[in-house]
Amino acid sequence: MRHDRGTPLSRRSVWAAQGVTIAGLILYVLAVRLVAPGLQAGGSAAGILLALVPVLLWLLLFYVQDAREPEPLSYVLRVAAAGAVLAGAVAIPILRQFSRTAWLTAGPITELLLSILVVGSLQEFCKYLAVRFTVFESDEFDEVADGVTYGTAAGLGVATMVNLMFILDSPSIAPVPAALRIVVISLSHAASGGVLGYVLGRAKMLGEDMRVVWGFVAAVVLNGVVAYALREVTQAGLAYRPWNGLALAAAVAAAVTFVLFRMVRPSAAQPAA
């Protein structure tokens, strides 16, 4: 039975890909910063390219690392596309109806609660739908670790659409701040998507359906808390400090990857339901 084959020992590459992607995205920002003096502020085309790099980099690294038994590219792309479409069609239009000013001036606790209850729940629900109604019932979804992969893909899909909307709403893009913002959003969405994918993986392979709701709530809380914390660490009075956001997002993504890696290991030893 394929799902008994020893996750993650045979799929250590999945986790290596996750880790290398985090490092790769940091290197990507540093590279943009290195060449930034030679770049002029660009329009939408350059911005769209910047926004697509994280998901493309992840896909590339994932398939290089996971060459032994990769998930079908069409499945991963389908999940990422579903996440992007749901975010663009549902989450972003709803969130745009709300005035962020009122949130940001309502005090830190209220702002944190709104970040969790509204932003987190909408975005994580999109990721849940993207995984649940595309690949979840597929035979290719045959390991708990696959849930992490597909959850990460859904997270990157949502992040890509959020970043594209940011680019299209801006008349001109300064490369370094834009790349920083894009990478930070991608890392944070990939992290919470990984958590959600993990519980979906356990539901699929171990029959722990009832635990999915708690995983969903955990992903919502993680999404909201990280989004709030990112705003806090990047603002110092009137100064904007985006590098603090990159450090925080990378730390969260690395921590989540490590924790999920540790959690998947014992689950692999359990028999399937």
Binding site: M1, A102, L114, D142, F216, V217, A273
Partner: protein, 199 residues
């Protein structure tokens, strides 16, 4: 070979055990969040004319525009557009016998000289604070100062509604303007400000 457990064969059962709790949790979280947003967005600050009867309420997060000579000049620091959504209230003492339409005509002429590409879109009668008033919907081209992450600042189209209302021997103008790109989204806030005017 793929093993199919009982959980993979019973779609209805899976929906009840897996999906329904998630959908319910999502509905509860979003419902609480939406209620909280309603409470937060309803918070306002009320300013009164110390020499008159006008009272205007605006969203609590808006901040005063520095150096403004007007009776009230506040703006939304987080409009998310090239220019901040802004509320400007002015008062002008008027002589007896001047009508609302006369003052509106003078206002339009003055704005056409002050604002680039100023255009009146519509003009309509309405009631503000229990008194007859006149609303001028307009547009002009402005200079954005608040563009986020934009190295190149293109002029922005700004839309607004300027309401003129007379109270005793004072003409008040209540001018609410926003970037055209977000004007429709801001309309509920503009309408709420206008509905909240007391005389």
């Amino acid at each position: 070979m793929v093993t199919r457990g009982p959980h993979m064969t019973n779609v209805g059962s899976r929906w009840m055990r897996l999906d329904l709790p998630v959908w319910v949790a999502f509905a509860i979280l979003l419902g609480i969040g939406t209620a909280l947003i309603g409470a937060v967005e309803a918070r306002t600050i009320t300013q009164a004319d110390p020499q008159g009867s006008l009272r205007v309420a605006y969203p609590a997060g808006w901040i005063a525009t520095p150096g403004s000579p007007h009776l009230l000049d506040v703006q939304d620091p987080m409009s998310g557009a090239a220019v901040a959504t802004r509320l400007i209230v002015t008062r002008e003492a008027i002589g007896s016998g001047r009508t609302l339409s006369e003052i509106a005509s003078e206002t339009v002429l003055a704005r056409a000289q002050q604002l680039a590409m100023y255009r009146v879109l519509t003009q309509r009668d309405l009631r503000i604070g229990g008194r007859d008033a006149l609303a001028i919907d307009y547009a002009f081209v402005g200079d954005p100062h608040e563009t986020v992450l934009a190295a190149q600042r293109l002029p922005a189209v700004i839309r607004g509604t300027e309401v003129i209302v007379l109270a005793d021997r004072v003409a008040y103008t209540i001018d609410v303007r926003a970037a055209a790109s977000i004007f429709d989204r801001e309309r509920s806030t503009i309408d709420r400000i206008l509905r909240g005017i007391r005389l």
